[in-house]
Amino acid sequence: MPTVIENPRSKQSGATGFLVPKWVDSASEARHAASSDEEGTVWIVRKSNLVDSVAHEVAVIKALKKSGYLVLLLDARSALLPPLEKRFRAVAFVPRALSKEEFDEVLTLPDREDRFIGGIVDEASKTLTLWRGNFKSITVPFSAFPATGNGIKPDFKKFSVIDYGHTLKFGNYESASEVVLFEYAPDFRRRLKQTRFAEEKTLGASIRRLRRQRRLTRSDFGNIDAKTIARIEHGKVKRPQASTLEGIANVLGVNRSQLSSY
């Protein structure tokens, strides 16, 4: 039998507290979701007719106070957003979500913000909107998931979230969730800097991380000499010229002022 592990960080009320999932499976539960003022509750709706019931009830009771979160495991319906967003702290259309068991568990974890609960693919704009466990969304271009060195490519039509939010799956291609968080979530990067990168907080270290994540060598910076890049990365240039930093930022695809955040 496998060892049973109690995650030392789980089930503790952290700075953000943990959330209570409630699955809405009947009309009476939909009415309750619309009228409840339970702050830490996440209402999860799987059926379109029950979403209609929630929205209708919200309109009837004219509730003004925001409380709780609403997760709709359905394709987005933009007409519903304005009324529902007045009622709930966040409204997430998440047609591709974690399984029920994993969803319920993730909401109780203090590090839920570093996991994804699901997302929605938009083929037209070639973007993927992902919902974190803290109900903040991140929209990323398909290019955030490059082919591997041996040619494995993501199939965005087969998107799902697995491994309790640690893995983004696109058919036969799987991405670690933290790749997206590193690139698109400044709060996640700040926490990494306090932990994993505690000994490498310099601007040079940030440039090196970003360059390596972009799969670039020091020779890929046009008219900026590879030796100059190496000296900056190693902290041997204390104050690089603004024009050099601008050039580096351009190649790395970020704003110059953001460089040190990576």
Binding site: M1, P2, T3, I5, N7, P8, R9, S10, E102, E105, V106, L109, F145, P146, T148, G149, N150, I152, P154, D163, Y164, H166, T167, L168, N172, Y173, E174, S175, A176, E178, V179, F182, R196, R208, R209, L210, R212, Q213, R215, L216, T217, R218, A226
Partner: protein, 93 residues
């Protein structure tokens, strides 16, 4: 397709994976997953990369499986991420 190490039935639901998209500035590694918890184990230094979660929570039999298959795991990593190979590139030093 991520590389997933085939573990004996007795070790399920433990998983050992090499993803297809990873943080490439960090040491080449496998990700060990047990339900909602995961650990990272370096293929270069052959140590756990993080102090938390506690590495001792991973059964020694899982680590033994990784060590017994290191050559395959390193090959799989190198094939996916040629810019961050197990053998550190000289120019990166």
């Amino acid at each position: 397709m991520p590389y997933e190490l085939l573990l004996p039935n007795a070790l399920r639901p433990w998983k050992v994976k090499i993803f297809d998209n990873e943080l490439l500035f960090e040491e080449p590694h496998v990700t060990i997953i047990f339900k909602s918890t995961r650990w990272r184990f370096s293929l270069r230094s052959r140590n756990f990369l993080d102090k938390s979660p506690e590495p001792s929570q991973v059964p020694s039999r899982v680590v033994a499986q990784i060590e017994a298959n290191l050559e395959t795991l390193c090959d799989e990593w190198n094939a996916r991420f040629p810019t961050n190979p197990i053998a550190q590139l000289e120019e990166e030093e």
